[in-house]
Structure formats: structure tokens, C-alpha cells
């Protein structure tokens, strides 16, 4: 027993998944259920003159057809924005409405105009084709920068110039001065392109209203069932919260796209009450492409100021960030607080200014996608850093070392206060870089590159030294910045009479392996076996009000709530043990699953204490029976993982194809509970970041049509796109949470995109290519090589 922390314990949850016995939303069915299909706009911007549902309603097997008129009459407003980011001049953020079904005007391809409910999905599909919508097609705007121009098509009448907010952070004046006095300025302009998350399981909902109990149940694909319940019950459908149960069973990947309480799911739940029967809806992939919230879509100008010595003296960015056609739940905080505040990176840059204009466009809404703001910030910084190093002729590793924040542990040395509001908790940035240089054999790589180049081969090395902010908190601070929710988490620990333990977790696992990691932590804490602990998550009826899983927060925030409950169990257990051992709790120490009187061999085991707590015959006076505690944990600060990734590529001169020859990742996520799971998170993160660098990107035409809205057109990484990644780590514990952990879910994605692009640009250095628009497709690379670096 014990010593599970730090071990690569095999995952408990795998037992069901490898046998095909996972239970995802679409695997559930209810008696008497109906099937729904949304009818969606084929146009990006159009006025609806008329919707004729009569033929569809008349079809055999059609239960009901709803349109925007029904929704409007029911007084339902649609999903909400959960973070208010006001204009820098003090004006309030613009918040256009987002109806569940559109009645007057569609604003992106995929905007729903009708909901067909039928006895089976075949009838629903057939009937949906009979719905005739008369549209007047209007001009659309898809480019975030063009959207603010006078005369650009307006997405919402109440959002002038399509501006949701204009926001800034940092000191403009000192940054201006830094640039005025700069010895060298590096400038880049790019589009951090729009990405489609494509979790392999499409979104789904199974909604039911039970009139006997006056109660709703919603099975859905959510990363955070309690948050979904709160938004749906309190803000969208006005259901008393205790009358709604949200169950998020096994979920097939999220990457951010399943954080949000989508209108589609709300519509299913609402309609189930109207028709008095359960309704099932599962999105097609084509539907997912035009309805799941996309990521990124930042158009950015970025500049770095240097002194003559190669020290960074200032950084400035101006970004137009697309929100898409409507404000999704957390869309507004992504380009502001999750992006702007990270813009100092892990450098000592003394002056930073970030200016962000958030705009609506006629495209699918944009919200948090793996990394959420931090990849965009890191891309800007790390592309500038690498470009600057090249421009001044310094080795990119040396240039970074010259500008790194020195190591600090956050305990004996204070946290590091940046120019853009954050206080980093602990870090040893040079340590991670040095380890990566060693693991990758950087000197050897440089000689290989020389040799390759002498033979005319295009080999390149790219770095990315990143820091990210996870476990966003504390609630009071985020509240003061406009968040309309708290950002704590919750967990309870129920010790059963026989000494077995159930953890009820507010965090939701959809690939992260909580059922294993959380059990490891608790089993170790109590000195019991993994088999003695199980984890329950994903059902609002069974778990405390936690905020769910996103932003690499589960272990740092929910894990801390678990540890608080562990402490409470141990404290009470000690009082019970002390009673049994006839001593004071202060005389006891807990180790190896037992309380022992210090300096003696007198002890009582965890199981004995648990049994005593539930069979309290011989029991401390005044002590309540039971051993069951819930805790909420609101972190003191974010956690700040960091690291260095090094990518080595070779370009096929003839075709422009990029091959990754080697990829080294050294990450520091503080203490590691399960290295196998941590490594898996890094692998997946790298792949997704490489996806952005080389393959992925939503392409819209000027009319607002998504041109690559299927998996046949939108390229995602496959197994044969990668070499074996080499991963390693350094450990700089987080000083402010009980496990000393940071977060690793997004690190790979944040780090890898600029590492890959930096490597490709390095490989193209003989062609005078300074920058290339992502994704670096073979065509783009080839054209850059064959057109003096221009496209």
C-alpha cells in the first residue's frame, strides 16, 4: 500500500473502453423516445422571409416541428455569455442575443431555423427536407479585421462595427517608449487561424421531462455537467435547478468544445417537455463542423523591441479576435484574460502592451479550444523570439537564456510579477531549456543540420519555450475581471463502513484518466489500495457542485478539493482513533493506513476507524457518526506549467511537404502523480498543436461558406504524420496547492505549434522566408520556396 503517487498505474477506466463497453450519450435510450433533427441555414447571412413547415408536419411519423416563432413565444433567450469584458473606454460589452431557433435573420452557415421531432431519425431526416425556408441572402463578413471597417456587413444591429469590446492590458506608454528607443524591432503579422475541434464523438443530447416528478433529465456530452445545469436551468430555460439532472456519461473527447451549454441541447430539453416524450439528438460530423464552437481566429500584428545587447525591452501586439456570429459562453475571456495576460511569456520583458478588439463575424462561434488564448499568446511570443534571434544573429537558445526570468521556487523566493497582471507561482525556465538541449543533443542536431544543408537538404530546428496559466482562479479575482461564475472546484470523499472509499468529483473525465489519478492520490493518502477507491463523476445528482474539466485544472483545482476532504477525513479519523487508543489526537501519527501512538506500536487501522464511525458504539462523545466530507477549493492563484519543446523538420524540396524528424518535449507540470497519463497528455497535446501548424484550418469563402467542412476536406493529423515523440520533464512544484501540481492537458498544444513553425522557417532560411501563414501546407511551403518567399 502507499507509494502510488508518481507511479505509472494502468488506467482503471480502460477496462470498459477496450471492450467497447464505455457508455457515451448516444448509447443511452429511453422508452418512448423520439428523434430530433435541426434544420440549419445553408447561408452565412440571410433574412428569413418565411418558413413553411406544413408538409413536414403532415408527414407520417412526424411528432412536431418547432421554429423560432415557438421559441420566441416561449420567451426563451438562448445561451448566455459567461464573462463580461468591457470596452477600455468604460463602455459595456455588447451582448447580442443568441436564439435557440432563429426567426428573423441567420448569421452563420449552420444557424438553426427549425427543429423536427419524429418517431425515428429516418423520418426526422426525410421531414427536414420538406421544410421550405425563403431567404433573402445578404453580404457576409468572415475576416475579423475587415469586420470593423465602416460599411462592413453588420452581424447584429446592436453591435456597431461588429465590435464586442476593445480591451487592453499592460502599459502603453512605457511600451511606446521601449519601441522608440529600440535598437532593433522585430515585426510579424499573421492569422492564428480558425480551428475546428473535432472531438471524435459528436455532440449529443437525450432530454426527458418527467411530468410526475416535474423534473427534467438531460444526458449530454459535457465537460462540466454542473455548469451546464446552472446555465440551462437558471439562465436559458428558467427551470428550478433542483428540477434538472444533467448526466454527462463517458464523453468522447472535448478539447474545450464540450465546455459550453449549447443552444442545441437546451432546445432538445425544452422540446421534450412540449411534446411530453424523451428526445434524442446526435450531431452528424458535418453538423459538428458548423455548430461546435471553433477555436483561435486571431488576426495579429506583433512586435518585439530589443536593445543593442539583445535584451528584450518591449513587446506589443494588436489583435482582432473573432467571436464568430454569437457569443459562446466563454468566448469573451479567451482573447482577453486568457491571452493578453500571458503575453510576457517567461521573459523579463519590462514593457508589454496588448490590445484586443473582439469582433463578430458571419462564422461559427469561437470559444475555448485546447489552450484557449494561451496558444495564441505563445505563438505570438515564440515566433517573435525566434525571428528576433535570427535577425540579430544569435542562437535561439542563447537568446532565450539571455532574456529568461531567473529561477524562483515561490517559497523562499517570491512569485514573479509580470507586466500584464499575472504573478507566476514558481519556475525554472532555463532548467527546462537546458534539459531539452541535453535530451535533444542540440549540438549534435546543429551539426546534422549543417551536414544536411551542405547536401542541399532542408533541415530546420525550432524551439518553443512556453509558460501557460492553468486552473484559472481565484474566484474573487476572476469575478472582478468580469467572470460571471466562480472558478473553484469541489469533491467529496465518502469512506464506507468497511474502509472503502468513493470520491465524488466535480471535475469530469473525458480522457484525462481521473478515475485513476484521483484514486492514486486518495489511496496513497489513506494507505489503502487502488481497488479500494472508486471515482464518481458526471452526474449532477451524485457529485458536488464543481466547475468541471477545462483549462488543465482538474488535478490542480479538483485534486486540491479532494485533498481538503482527505484532510477532513484524517482529522476526524484521528479523533476516533484517539478515542480507541485512549490518547489525544495530537499523540497520533498517520502512516501506512493506520494511526499510531507516536513512539509506540499501539495503532488502529483506517478500516477499523471507518467501521467505528458507522457503528459508533464505543465512540468519542459529541462526535457525529460517519466519515464523509465534501470540500470546495478556490485556488489562491493560477498554476503555471512551463517547458521547452524542440522540433526538427525536413522539407521535401520537390513537394514542400514537411516531415517531423524529431520532437523533444521537456515539460514541467510540478509534481507528477501518474507519469504515464502525463506523458499521454503531452503526446496528444503535441499532435493537436502540430495539427494547427501543418494541417488544420477552417477556410471560408467571402460569402461565409465553410469550404472544408468535412473530414475529407479538413486535414487532421494521422498516425503516420509523426515520429515517436521524446518526452522528459523537470519538476518545480506549485507552491500554493496541496499536491504541488500544475497542469498538463494543454501544454503540448500550446508549445508545439510555434516549435514546428519555427523549425520550418529555419529550414527555409536559405530562401529568405521570414514567415508563413499556418497551416504550413505543402503548397504554401513550395510556393514560398519558389516565389522568393511570397505566396
Amino acid at each position: 500500500m502507499g507509494n502510488l503517487i508518481g507511479k505509472a498505474v494502468k488506467r482503471v477506466e480502460d477496462n470498459r473502453f477496450i471492450k467497447g463497453e464505455g457508455k457515451y450519450t448516444d448509447d443511452f435510450n429511453m422508452k418512448n423516445q423520439t428523434f430530433a433533427m435541426y434544420v440549419r441555414s445553408p447561408h452565412a447571412h440571410a433574412k428569413i422571409n418565411n418558413i413553411d413547415i406544413s408538409s413536414a408536419e403532415a408527414m407520417d411519423g412526424v411528432v412536431k416541428v418547432f421554429t423560432g416563432k415557438d421559441i420566441a413565444e416561449a420567451g426563451i433567450v438562448g445561451s448566455i455569455c459567461g464573462w463580461q469584458v468591457d470596452f477600455k473606454n468604460g463602455d459595456t460589452m455588447k451582448e447580442p442575443g443568441h436564439p435557440i431557433l432563429v426567426a428573423d435573420k441567420v448569421r452563420h452557415v449552420g444557424d438553426p431555423v427549425a427543429l423536427v421531432i419524429a418517431e425515428d431519425k429516418y423520418i426526422a431526416r426525410d421531414a427536414s427536407e420538406l421544410i421550405e425556408v425563403d431567404y433573402d441572402i445578404l453580404d457576409a463578413v468572415v475576416d475579423p479585421k475587415a469586420a470593423v471597417h465602416d460599411g462592413a456587413p453588420q452581424v447584429h444591429d446592436d453591435v456597431p462595427n461588429n465590435k464586442i469590446y476593445e480591451w487592453e492590458i499592460g502599459d502603453k506608454e512605457s511600451t511606446d517608449t521601449a519601441f522608440e528607443n529600440a535598437h532593433h524591432v522585430t515585426s510579424l503579422s499573421f492569422h492564428n487561424q480558425k480551428l475546428v475541434p473535432n472531438a471524435i464523438e459528436p455532440r449529443a443530447a437525450l432530454g426527458h421531462y418527467d411530468s410526475n416528478e416535474d423534473k427534467y433529465t438531460l444526458y449530454t456530452t459535457s465537460q462540466n455537467p454542473h455548469l451546464a445545469r446552472l446555465i440551462i436551468a437558471a439562465f436559458v430555460l428558467s427551470i428550478p435547478e433542483h428540477k434538472l439532472r444533467v448526466i454527462s456519461p463517458d464523453v468522447g473527447g472535448g478539447f474545450g468544445s464540450k465546455i459550453f451549454a449549447y443552444n442545441d441541447e437546451c432546445g432538445i430539453l425544452w422540446a421534450s417537455k412540449q411534446i411530453g416524450r424523451p428526445i434524442k439528438w446526435t450531431a452528424d460530423r458535418s453538423e459538428a463542423f458548423i455548430t461546435d464552437c471553433h477555436g483561435r481566429d486571431h488576426v495579429t500584428d506583433a512586435k518585439l523591441a530589443l536593445d543593442a545587447d539583445g535584451k528584450i525591452t518591449g513587446l506589443r501586439t494588436k489583435t482582432y479576435a473573432a467571436m464568430g456570429a454569437y457569443l459562446s459562453n466563454f468566448s469573451t475571456c479567451v482573447p482577453s484574460y486568457l491571452h493578453g495576460t500571458l503575453m510576457q511569456g517567461l521573459y523579463t520583458t519590462p514593457a508589454v502592451h496588448v490590445d484586443v478588439t473582439a469582433v463578430v463575424t458571419h462564422t461559427v462561434p469561437v470559444d475555448a479550444y485546447r489552450g484557449a488564448g494561451r496558444p495564441e499568446a505563445t505563438y505570438s511570443i515564440e515566433r517573435l523570439i525566434e525571428t528576433a534571434a535570427k535577425e540579430i544573429g544569435m542562437d535561439p537558445a542563447e537568446f532565450r537564456k539571455k532574456n529568461f526570468i531567473p529561477a524562483f521556487d515561490g517559497v523562499s523566493q517570491p512569485g514573479y510579477q509580470t507586466q500584464v497582471a499575472l504573478q507566476y507561482d514558481s519556475g525554472d525556465y532555463e532548467g527546462a531549456l537546458n534539459k531539452a538541449l541535453e535530451v535533444s543533443d542540440y549540438e549534435g542536431l546543429k551539426s546534422q543540420r549543417e551536414e544536411a544543408r551542405s547536401k542541399g537538404r532542408l533541415m530546420g530546428i525550432g524551439f518553443s519555450t512556453y509558460i501557460e496559466a492553468c486552473g484559472i482562479a481565484p474566484s474573487a479575482v476572476v469575478g472582478s475581471l468580469g467572470a460571471r461564475v466562480g472558478l473553484y472546484d469541489a469533491a467529496s470523499i465518502r469512506v464506507h463502513p468497511t474502509g472503502k472509499v468513493t470520491i465524488h468529483s466535480g471535475a469530469h473525465s473525458h480522457g484525462q484518466g481521473h478515475e485513476t489519478t484521483f484514486a492514486q492520490v486518495v489511496a496513497d493518502a489513506f494507505g489503502i489500495g487502488m481497488d479500494d477507491v472508486n471515482v464518481v463523476h458526471g452526474d449532477t445528482e451524485n457529485v458536488p457542485f464543481g466547475m468541471g474539466t477545462y483549462g488543465s485544472r482538474s488535478l490542480a483545482v479538483c485534486g486540491s478539493a479532494i485533498m481538503k476532504s482527505v484532510d477532513k477525513v484524517k482529522e476526524k479519523g484521528a479523533r476516533i482513533a484517539a478515542h480507541k487508543l485512549e490518547c489525544s489526537p495530537d499523540d497520533l501519527e498517520f502512516a501506512n493506513g493506520a494511526w499510531t501512538v507516536k513512539g509506540t506500536d499501539k495503532s488502529v487501522g483506517f478500516g477499523d476507524v471507518a467501521l467505528t464511525a458507522y457503528v459508533p458504539h464505543d465512540y468519542p462523545e459529541g462526535e457525529e457518526p460517519g466519515l464523509d466530507f465534501a470540500s470546495f477549493y478556490d485556488p489562491a492563484n493560477f498554476v503555471y506549467p512551463f517547458g521547452t519543446h524542440i522540433c526538427v523538420v525536413e522539407i521535401d524540396k520537390e513537394t514542400g511537404e514537411v516531415e517531423i524528424l524529431k520532437y523533444v518535449a521537456v515539460d514541467d507540470c510540478g509534481n507528477i502523480i501518474n507519469p504515464m497519463i502525463v506523458e499521454g497528455q503531452v503526446h496528444g497535446g503535441i499532435a493537436q498543436g502540430v495539427g494547427q501548424a501543418l494541417y488544420e484550418g477552417a477556410v471560408y469563402d467571402d460569402s461565409g461558406q465553410l469550404l472544408n467542412g468535412t473530414m475529407l476536406d479538413y486535414t487532421m493529423p494521422r498516425a503516420d504524420n509523426f515520429p515517436m515523440f521524446e518526452t522528459d520533464h523537470t519538476v518545480t512544484p506549485c507552491p500554493h496547492n496541496p499536491l504541488g501540481v500544475k497542469g498538463i492537458g494543454e501544454a503540448g498544444t500550446i508549445a508545439s505549434t510555434p516549435a514546428v513553425v519555427n523549425a520550418v522557417i529555419d529550414a527555409l532560411s536559405d530562401y529568405g522566408v521570414k514567415d508563413l501563414q499556418m497551416p504550413l501546407t505543402p503548397q504554401r511551403v513550395w510556393k514560398a520556396m519558389n516565389n522568393n518567399g511570397k505566396l
Binding site: N198, I200, S286, Q688, A719, F722
Partner: protein
């Protein structure tokens, strides 16, 4: 329009009158309640729906169930033999070849066919052999290792 099919799935014979336009994957999931076979796309791209039909890996979303009349089908639920995990199932667990688990059944079915035709595949052969399956979680590395684990074991 209906049609009668007779087929074997995981060793069990079924005789059903079905609507001709029911896809094989929907027949398996909805009629036989074998929900381990998943649907991740609508363009025959993602491979989540991979099953074995007469011993060969195929995408059950790209067939009408009527086309499987007379076939012998194995789904992920049929991979355990006498309560023993298939070496690939074991490999996916041992090598952490899955995270959310959604693509896993399809990956295992594709890999099983790959190993049947090539018992000692190289890393490159494994990676290319999995071209018809997307995983968004793992970066594929541990999936490759899981297949190597199974190859080494058998």
C-alpha cells in the same frame, strides 16, 4: 422498404427484417445494441465504426446492413475470447493507447486486421496501417506501442 437479412455477429445468428437504408453501423448499435462500434464522422474518414466482416476490417458506416446479408461479423464486443482479453485490448491498456476511448474500438479492430496480415509490422507499417482511423487524444504514439505490444505477444 424492407429486406430480410441473416447474418452472424460475434458468433450469434440473427435474422431480421430491416429498412434497406439502415447502415450496418446503425443496425449493430440500435438493433443489436452493440454500442461499442461508434460513429465519428459521415464521410468514411474516422474509422470509429470499424468492424470485421468475413474477417476483414471494414467501415460499417459505409455499408447498408442489407449488404451484410450472409456475413460473419465481429465487433469489439466479440474480441474477448473466453473472458480473455485480445492481446490488442491488453496492449491498449498496458501502453496507455487510449484516453477518451471513443476511437479505441475502431483502432483495435483495424489493428487486429493489420496484425492478421502482418504479424511483425514495422513502426511505419503500423502507422500507415492506421491511416483510416483518427484519434484526437493520444497523438497516436501509445496506439502504435499498443499494436507493437500485441505483435510482440503473439
Amino acid at each position: 422498404m424492407s429486406f430480410t437479412i441473416n447474418l452472424t455477429v460475434n458468433g450469434v445468428n440473427y435474422n431480421d427484417v430491416i429498412d434497406t437504408r439502415v447502415l450496418l453501423v446503425d443496425y449493430l448499435r440500435e438493433k443489436l445494441e452493440l454500442t461499442g462500434t461508434h460513429v465519428g464522422c459521415d464521410t468514411s474518414s474516422c474509422g470509429s465504426c470499424t468492424i470485421h466482416l468475413d474477417g476483414k476490417a471494414m467501415k460499417s458506416c459505409t455499408m447498408f446492413a442489407v449488404q451484410a446479408d450472409g456475413a460473419d461479423i465481429t465487433t469489439i464486443e466479440g474480441m474477448c475470447q473466453n473472458g480473455e482479453l485480445h492481446p490488442l485490448q491488453e496492449g491498449f491498456k498496458e501502453e496507455h493507447g487510449l484516453q477518451c476511448g471513443f476511437c479505441t474500438p475502431g483502432m483495435i479492430m483495424t489493428a487486429a486486421d493489420l496484425l492478421k496480415n502482418n504479424s511483425k509490422p514495422s513502426e511505419e507499417e503500423i502507422r500507415c496501417g492506421l491511416d483510416g482511423n483518427f484519434c484526437r487524444c493520444t497523438g497516436y504514439q501509445n496506439i502504435v506501442k499498443a499494436v507493437q505490444y500485441a505483435a510482440d505477444k503473439s
